[in-house]
Amino acid sequence: MLLIHCPYCEEARPELEFRHAGEAHIARPAGIAEISDEAFEAYFFIRDNTKGIVFERWRHIHGCGRFFNAARHSVSDRFVVTYRAGEPKPELSGEQVAAAAPGGKATPANAAAGVNGKAAR
């Protein structure tokens, strides 16, 4: 069971409180009614499904109820960072990516806070 840092509650909470909500940063196109079939396909059907860092949406459904975004490594399951909906996609440093990869050493700051910080009550 993962610990997930909710950027609204500012606490790491157990996965049981959250629901996954698919890939992040796929904005509904403006003027969607008029977009081409190809643009609709790209928006609605095509997903990256990356092996490595994924940007994904979560909802703290049994907590504050807010949707937020996260960068997670899909092999190690390590979170790099979580951030509020509407904030820009963060630029991850090579160090951050390497740390999140399998065999990486560091634990992300906000996930570690959950172990030794607020959530660890």
């Binding site: 969607i32 977009i35 109820g65 190690s76």
Partner: protein, 989 residues
């Protein structure tokens, strides 16, 4: 040698062990009574009583005895009962503590343990090679299901599962700590003590009842000048006295998950004669640890030689533990077969206790001189550079055959017990589960913890550490403290991997690698010969390591034999994956409280009690209990539903609609939000009016529907399907928070705040009107909503109809739901009103062609497909699903459309889900052009009715189609979806 009083067991040696001879308990094994000492395991108690034969093997039904003294036991699996309902199969006798009244039974034998018919498999064993089932039962295919599988299933398996429900309770706890220490051996205790004294929050879990780990087996170790066992007891006493420490004996860490979450199974009552009746049997701990210290020790391996599985053949470390802790000797004339120094220590201790040692056979040509010197001192014969090449004895080992490795004549030794040690396998299970990498240590033939993937550290024997001093140092270092002083002479050095002498590729013998699954060295080699290259394939083909012990003693030998046969190094062949659980965990601990009534939430409406008192039958809809129908005495379901449908249309019916999902959409931008989330044009809905709304997904398919009332310019009362309420709110929140965050709207679930009393039928207004204040019902048009009072309580009154009749739905605060319902009932009953349930509701809505989302739609149905194209606002610039609806395939004609069906024989009721064809005479497989979505007998129509989704359905009105069933082909006519009152005249009463 002195022998204790017979009641303690004939093999109990007076003055040896740490159990008190004064405290005895009684138990039975295969109905024979025995006496044990408090603190015995079932295995030590059976050995003390001279019982060596405890089970039969899985495949060949070979007689088997106790191999080990711990969690790794593959042979001594028994059924353990406390009473009729409390029976557990496949319990490891080496881990089960004896309690007064314990009832143990052997398994996998018939008619008795000593005489087992199934043992015939042993003599025809050459016909049961690896992959036997895969090769033999291949054809005919039909025979697999009817013949082979039932017979194999009946013959397979070890213990029988109990048939009664589990009467025990199981507890569950989440915990956090700074340091979780797994294993209370010397390394684990040193770590726990250091961290505890530094004030850190520590949890210490150990699978055994008594702490100490390897210290239990020795009397020689000294730590800080005291015997190791006493040191361990003192450390645990200090830890237990501290508020910042939780000590959990009898607790197995069985799974290591992400972010340092470790699952523990704590056994609370399985060792007690009379547990408190309300005490939980086990507790599941889900521990989130800042840091994990794995001090899980090492497991001794057997040696793979011919007939190495006879009762009385045992791991050397187990015998040493039985002697030094339990005061039990496993035999009176013992042979020792060693590839490892630690086996010698067992021989020395037994000899010193007065047991005869026939010889120490060591396959190493050179053994440490201090060991040989000590053997000489104790007058034990030593045969270095020799091997045990075979044994005899049917129900117990009687002799061993020993031959020099260099070649030459063999000698027979008469024995009643044979101890073996092929070296030690570090217990890297949990470390590997944590996704830590393993590194192969070729010099010592073992895998060791390599790169950690989480914040965890391995200390002691699981880290490959061979001496007590180093184990204590590692444990202390993990806590950042100075280790205690240690003195110990025994070493764990030396190993033998793979088949030993006399069990090679050309030796036609049974040399067991996996005792529990009866896998021999020959089977592994054969699997490789037949093309298995990866160890994962060898494992599945031979079942090596796939029994309940998960190959704790077997995996390394299997790997070594496969590697040798392939001519590769061990790391090239790979290692099978370590998966949770480390040892078997009961379903009870996992399921915990989530069973019976607590399995899931049960939601009941405020009117539930009235329905119960009035004989309602309920059905489950999501988590809700909904009234299905109200049978009167003598009525079956059909009669009740027919009556409810008829009376509602003739007089009136009352229906509990409280389960409908209800969401209040409020805010200055509420109408804009509704325009985006539903297909309909909400701008044109006046305050006080209702409209049937359709919600789509972005792909253009129907997601939910419901009636929406506009209470004010900025306030909508939205209803959803009963099952759809949570996902509809989730869907709305998703768009509000992430796509349309500029809209000022607040969403609130009010499903449980409003109870809904629906009254439908020509007399509905007459019944309801006298109870209503502040609202003129006669002035309410169809599809309108008013706020007023009903029976004196605030009410939202909607004039809506899911039956096609004049109808009102009265929403009142849930606490008043039953009182209002009863008041309406008192009014209506004398007029002939009936209560009706969901079945009549379904029939009546189908008579009117109203869809149920999820029944008449399946996630690929557009509004137009369902005949609801009118509900899509054509001039709207945007709504969720607008682009999806314009996809070429969705906009094209001839799609699968909802239509009505009438059977040629009006009494025939179609089966929901039945497939429809145009030509019943076409060859099989026929082309299916659609299927039945709803089907009922309609008493009001006097014939059966059905709804169906059919390709280009609306163009087929009047056509005859066919529904092929197993017994007959049913002819049906395609009709409109409305079967009753197509003009809608009944809406006005």
């Amino acid at each position: 040698m002195t022998v204790a009083a017979p009641h303690a067991g004939a093999n109990r040696i007076a003055g040896k062990g740490r159990l008190s001879p004064a405290r005895t308990v009684s138990f039975t094994f295969d109905r024979r009574p025995y006496t044990a000492l408090a603190g015995d395991t079932l295995a030590s108690a059976l050995l003390a009583n001279g019982v060596n034969l405890v089970g039969r093997s899985f495949k060949y039904h070979r007689p088997r005895g106790v191999l080990s003294a711990g969690a790794d036991e593959p042979n001594a699996l028994v059924g353990v009962a406390r009473d009729a309902a409390r029976f557990q199969p496949n319990v490891r006798a080496t881990a089960q503590e004896v309690f007064d009244g314990l009832i143990a039974t052997s398994q996998n034998r018939w008619p008795s343990l000593a005489f087992d018919i199934g043992a015939g498999n042993d003599f025809v064993g050459r016909f049961f090679p690896a992959g036997f089932y895969y090769k033999t039962f291949m054809w005919p295919a039909a025979a697999w299901k009817r013949l082979y599988e039932p017979v194999i299933r009946a013959a397979a398996g070890l213990g029988m599962a109990p048939k009664e429900p589990d009467p025990d309770r199981y507890a569950n706890r989440f915990a956090h700590c700074d340091l979780l220490v797994v294993g209370a051996g010397p390394a684990g205790l040193a770590a726990a003590l250091g961290a505890a004294r530094a004030g850190r929050r520590v949890i210490l879990a150990d699978e055994n009842a008594v702490p100490g780990g390897s210290l239990l087996a020795t009397n020689e170790a000294l730590i800080d000048g005291v015997p190791g066992f006493d040191w361990a007891a003192a450390v645990v006493a200090e830890l237990s006295s501290k508020d910042n420490v939780t000590v959990l004996p009898r607790t197995t860490a069985f799974g290591y998950y992400a972010q340092n979450m470790v699952a523990l199974a704590e056994r609370l009552t399985d060792h007690l004669a009379r547990p408190a009746p309300d005490a939980p049997r086990e507790r599941l701990w889900q521990v989130r640890a800042g840091k994990v210290v794995l001090a899980t020790g090492a497991i001794e391996r057997q040696i793979v030689f011919a007939d190495n599985d006879r009762p009385g053949i045992m791991l050397a470390s187990a015998a040493r533990l039985y002697l030094n802790h339990y005061g039990v000797t496993p035999g009176r004339k013992i042979g020792v077969y060693a590839a490892c120094d630690s086996a010698w220590a067992a021989a020395f201790d037994l000899k010193a206790a007065g047991v005869e040692i026939a010889a120490i056979v060591d396959c190493r040509a050179e053994v440490p001189t201090d060991l040989v010197a000590r053997a000489n001192d104790l007058a034990i014969g030593v045969l270095a550079g020799h091997a045990v090449t075979g044994t005899s004895g049917r129900l117990r080992v009687r002799s061993m055959r020993v031959a020099p490795l260099a070649g030459g004549g063999s000698r027979e030794f008469e024995i009643d017990c044979l101890l073996m040690s092929g070296g030690w396998t570090p217990s890297v299970h949990l470390f590997s589960q944590s996704r830590g990498g393993l590194a192969y240590d070729a010099a010592n033939g073992r895998f060791l913890p390599g790169t950690a993937a989480q914040d965890c550290i391995c200390v002691g024997a699981c880290n490959g550490t061979l001496t007590l001093e180093d184990a204590l140092a590692e444990g202390a270092a993990a806590a950042g403290v100075t280790p205690p002083d240690a003195e110990e002479t025994a070493s764990m050095a030396g190993h033998l991997l793979g088949a030993a002498s006399g069990a090679g590729p050309r030796d036609f013998v049974k040399a067991f690698v996996d005792f529990q699954n009866d896998v021999t060295a020959k089977d592994i080699r054969q699997a490789v010969r037949e093309g298995m290259r990866s160890i994962e394939h060898v494992k599945r083909y031979t079942t090596n390591g796939m029994a309940t012990d998960q190959g704790k003693t077997a995996n390394m030998h299997g790997l070594a034999i496969a590697a040798e046969t392939l001519g590769k190094d061990i790391p090239e062949v790979g290692l099978t994956t370590f998966r949770p659980p480390y040892t078997p965990v009961t379903f009870g601990a996992i399921v915990n409280h989530a069973r019976g009534e607590l399995f899931d939430v049960t939601r009941r409406t405020p009117i539930h009690g009235w329905a119960e008192q009035n004989g309602a039958v309920f059905e489950d809809v999501g988590n809700w209990k909904r009234t299905w129908y109200f049978p009167r005495p003598g009525e079956d379901m059909a009669a009740a539903v027919n009556r409810e449908c008829r009376t509602t249309r003739q007089v009136a019916g009352i229906f509990d609609a409280s389960t409908l999902g209800k969401i209040e959409v409020v805010g200055p931008d509420a109408v804009g939000f509704m325009n985006l989330l539903y297909t309909n044009a909400w701008d044109r809905l006046d305050v006080g009016r209702c409209r049937y709304g359709i919600m789509l997904r972005e792909d253009g398919y129907i997601y939910d529907d419901g009636v929406v009332g506009r209470l004010a310019e900025d306030r909508f009362h939205v209803t959803t399907t009963t099952g759809g309420a949570p996902r509809v709110l989730h869907h709305m929140e998703d768009y509000l928070q992430t796509e349309f965050p500029h809209l000022k709207v607040w969403l609130t679930s009010v499903s449980e705040q409003w109870a809904v009393v629906a009254v439908q039928g020509p007399r509905a207004r007459d019944i309801v009107a006298p109870l209503i204040e502040d609202v003129d019902l006669a002035a309410m048009p169809h599809m309108s909503i008013r706020q007023g009072r009903c029976c004196g309580v605030p009410a939202r009154i909607m004039r809506v109809s899911f039956t096609g009749e004049l109808g009102f739905e009265i929403n009142v605060p849930a606490d008043f739901g039953r009182a209002v319902w009863e008041a309406v009932w008192e009014r209506g009953e004398p007029l002939g009103m009936v209560p009706y349930g969901t079945e009549a509701m379904h029939v009546m809505r189908a008579e009117k062609g109203f869809i149920i989302v999820g029944q008449d739609t399946d996630g690929t149905v557009t509004p137009d497909d369902a005949g609801l194209g009118w509900a899509v606002g054509r001039s709207k610039p945007d709504f969720v699903g607008i682009r999806g609806l314009r996809r070429p395939d969705l906009a094209a004609g001839g799609r699968r459309q909802l239509v009505g069906l009438r059977t040629r024989d009006p009494r025939t009721v179609l089966e929901e889900g039945a497939q429809i064809v145009a030509d019943p005479h076409q060859p099989v497989p026929m082309k299916m052009i659609g299927f039945v979505t709803s089907s009922y007998w309609s008493d009001n129509c006097g014939h059966s009715i059905a709804l169906a989704l059919i390709d280009d359905g609306r163009a087929r009105l009047g056509q005859t189609l066919y529904v092929p069933m197993a017994s007959e082909t049913i002819a049906v006519e395609v009709t409109a979806t409305v079967f009753l009152d197509p003009e809608g005249k009944r809406l006005d009463g």
